[in-house]
């Protein structure tokens, strides 16, 4: 810095050095930067382009509402079971994880002493960074057998004896299925939601809290009346981002949901989601129609994910948040 500055001060460079240099620099930066905008557009085009033959075959809404997915015999493809499976698993896991995630965030940001909240904050972020395939590995060998032996078998046997009408809704207690996937998914998005909510709480100004204390509120009343309402936007954006993550979560769900490609769904029985069917069948798809149907499922996943992310971006902008952290 010192050298270059003094050098420039001694002998002024010609105007062309500034003018041309700035042009070249900004042009190359813009060229590289614009690709980020193009990426999403290219993704939409490519997914639609490669999925088009299947969407044409069954019709845009026909594919969306088709309940049969049969790559083996009838060669008929409908995405309805996967769309339903994705929505059920992600919404339920979000519903289960919301309160615990928020509670951890409130405890970390408001109640715990600084050293402890520092530890919990780091731990939560660390856990959010654990690859989902590792959670899936643990789920296959530990969680699913545990759930089967401890809960599903007993529930199944109980309803067999006392309440047989319930059986069609329960499904086979093999351990791999909807309930297992939803629970694991909830566990996985808790740290994510918590990290985003802690960020939102940290942005609440001190005055806000002090004003409430000055009115004689207890700590909990301060949190309920002054902190949470103020952080509402950030929490909402965090929930949307977690929802997007739950929709797109692939490996752990593919390893635990049991992969059944047709309706109807049962609570404990196997099902499929949009990402899980892509991962499970893409390597083995030989027929063109099968391949393009899988990509078409990806196209619908893209649309759902796009909508969720745009809503999250809108909320962030509306509440003028700087955005979620990258971990």
């Amino acid at each position: 810095m010192d050298d270059s500055t003094s050098q420039i001060l001694k002998q002024p460079r010609p105007l062309i050095y500034r003018w041309l240099g700035d042009r070249i620099f900004s042009l190359s930066i813009f060229t590289l930067g614009i690709t980020v905008i193009l990426c999403t557009a290219i993704m939409a085009l490519v997914l639609y382009g490669d999925g088009a033959s299947s969407i044409k075959e069954f019709g845009f809404f026909g594919f969306l509402t088709g309940k049969v997915w049969d790559p083996a015999i009838k060669m008929q493809f409908g995405a309805y079971p996967f769309i339903l499976g994705t929505l059920i698993t992600s919404i339920l896991s979000l519903a289960i994880s919301f309160i615990p995630a928020l509670a951890v965030a409130v405890f970390t940001a408001e109640y715990s002493p600084a050293w402890l909240s520092h530890i919990i904050d780091n731990l939560v972020n660390l856990i959010a960074a654990v690859p989902s395939v590792i959670i899936g590995l643990w789920g296959i060998f530990v969680f699913a057998p545990f759930m089967r032996d401890t809960f599903y078998m007993n529930i199944y046997l109980w309803s067999l004896d006392h309440f047989p009408a319930l059986l069609p809704f329960l499904g086979n207690p093999i351990g791999y299925g909807m309930a297992t996937a939803i629970l694991i998914l909830a566990l996985m998005i808790i740290p994510y939601t918590t990290a985003l909510a802690v960020d939102a709480f940290k942005k609440v100004p001190k005055d806000q809290r002090e004003a409430a204390y000055a009115l004689g509120a207890t700590k909990w009343e301060v949190i309920r009346m002054a902190v949470i309402p103020y952080a509402r936007g950030g929490i909402l954006a965090g929930v949307m981002l977690s929802f997007g993550r739950a929709i797109g979560e692939t490996m752990a769900v593919a390893m635990l949901i049991g992969n059944k490609n047709t309706l109807p769904f049962t609570i404990m029985g196997p099902a499929s989601t949009m990402p899980s069917v892509i991962v499970n069948e893409f390597r083995e798809a030989v027929e063109n129609l099968h391949l393009s149907s899988l990509i078409a499922v990806g196209f619908y996943l893209f649309i759902v994910s796009l909508i969720v992310n745009l809503i999250a971006a809108y909320i962030q902008r509306r509440f003028s948040l700087t955005g979620a952290r990258t971990v």
């Binding site: 700035d22 951890v104 590995l137 990806g298």
Partner: protein, 286 residues
């Protein structure tokens, strides 16, 4: 109106609820990590780092196998991804922070966040359509492209915030001594935000290194070492997360053991990059 006693009782009740809740949430998450470490540590031995996986018959006859080709492959694919993603990510980040008045910036920020939120499996489909389909074979390169799409928005985001951390007055000082704008960015702003930039790259690397879904149909996996560099780049390549998945759903107990060991190694990579990044962030003060 509630009495003061009731209000304090309620506040203590909530505090207890929050403490119990926090413990209840953190315990299973810690259990997962501890379980992987305990299971995996026993399966890590010298064979794990020196042997290749080989065919299933090797596992069934009890001969030793390892994941050396997977470890090398992970580095090859992740390095290719960095090579592809860094220039574009840096470019986007610099554009966002140094040209804040550019009229494409709001769109770019939204698109970047959208891309970041896109499921990784879709990025794999994109890489499959852009690289695997035209080239006609699964390849390490296509895996690198897929992971580059994972890294790109993270790098852009972290570059932007790292450069934003540099006070605007420093740029003005550079301009005041007569530096053109491009020199201000290249020799003042970027060197000053070096820690932040490297941290962003590490976080992007850690995120991408754990992705299995996009690699299943791009780099595909391979049970053997490739003899040539060409084989590593243009042939099917094994990577840790994708191999972990294949091992976990395989029917051989010996491969399950390897799976736990692969899990501990993957966890180690990701956690290390994460911890280094976090420490670097803490020391960064302006």
């Amino acid at each position: 109106m509630k009495t003061l006693k009731q209000r304090y009782f309620f506040q203590n009740l909530m505090k207890t609820f929050l403490i119990i809740n926090t413990i209840a949430v953190l315990i299973p998450l810690i259990i997962i990590i501890v379980y992987v470490v305990v299971q995996g540590i026993g399966a890590i031995n010298i064979d794990f780092f020196t042997q290749e996986l080989g065919s299933p018959s090797r596992a069934m006859t009890g001969r030793s196998s390892g994941l050396v080709h997977t470890i090398i492959g992970t580095f090859v694919v992740d390095f290719l991804a960095l090579l592809i993603a860094v220039p574009f990510g840096l470019g986007a980040g610099i554009m966002l922070s140094e040209y804040p008045d550019h009229k494409l910036n709001p769109l770019m920020r939204v698109m970047n966040d959208t891309l970041n939120g896109m499921p990784a499996v879709l990025k794999g489909l994109l890489a499959w359509a852009l690289v695997v389909k035209p080239m006609g074979s699964f390849s390490g390169l296509s895996g690198g492209v897929a992971l580059a799409f994972v890294m790109l928005p993270i790098i852009a985001r972290s570059t932007e915030s790292a450069l934003m951390n540099i006070p605007w007055s420093i740029r003005e000082a550079g301009l005041a001594v007569g530096l053109p704008r491009w020199r201000v960015v290249l020799s003042v702003v970027i060197p000053a935000s070096k820690t932040g930039l490297v941290t962003g790259l590490l976080i992007a690397f850690a995120r991408a290194a754990g992705e299995a879904a996009p690699l299943l149909f791009t780099s595909f996996g391979n049970n053997y070492m490739s003899a040539t560099l060409k084989g590593w780049i243009f042939g099917p390549v094994d990577t840790l997360p994708q191999r972990l998945y294949s091992l976990a759903i395989s029917p051989y107990p010996q491969w399950h053991k390897l799976g736990w060991a692969a899990g501990i190694l993957l966890l180690f990579f990701v956690v290390m990059s994460f911890v280094i990044a976090r420490i670097a962030v803490r020391e960064k003060k302006y």
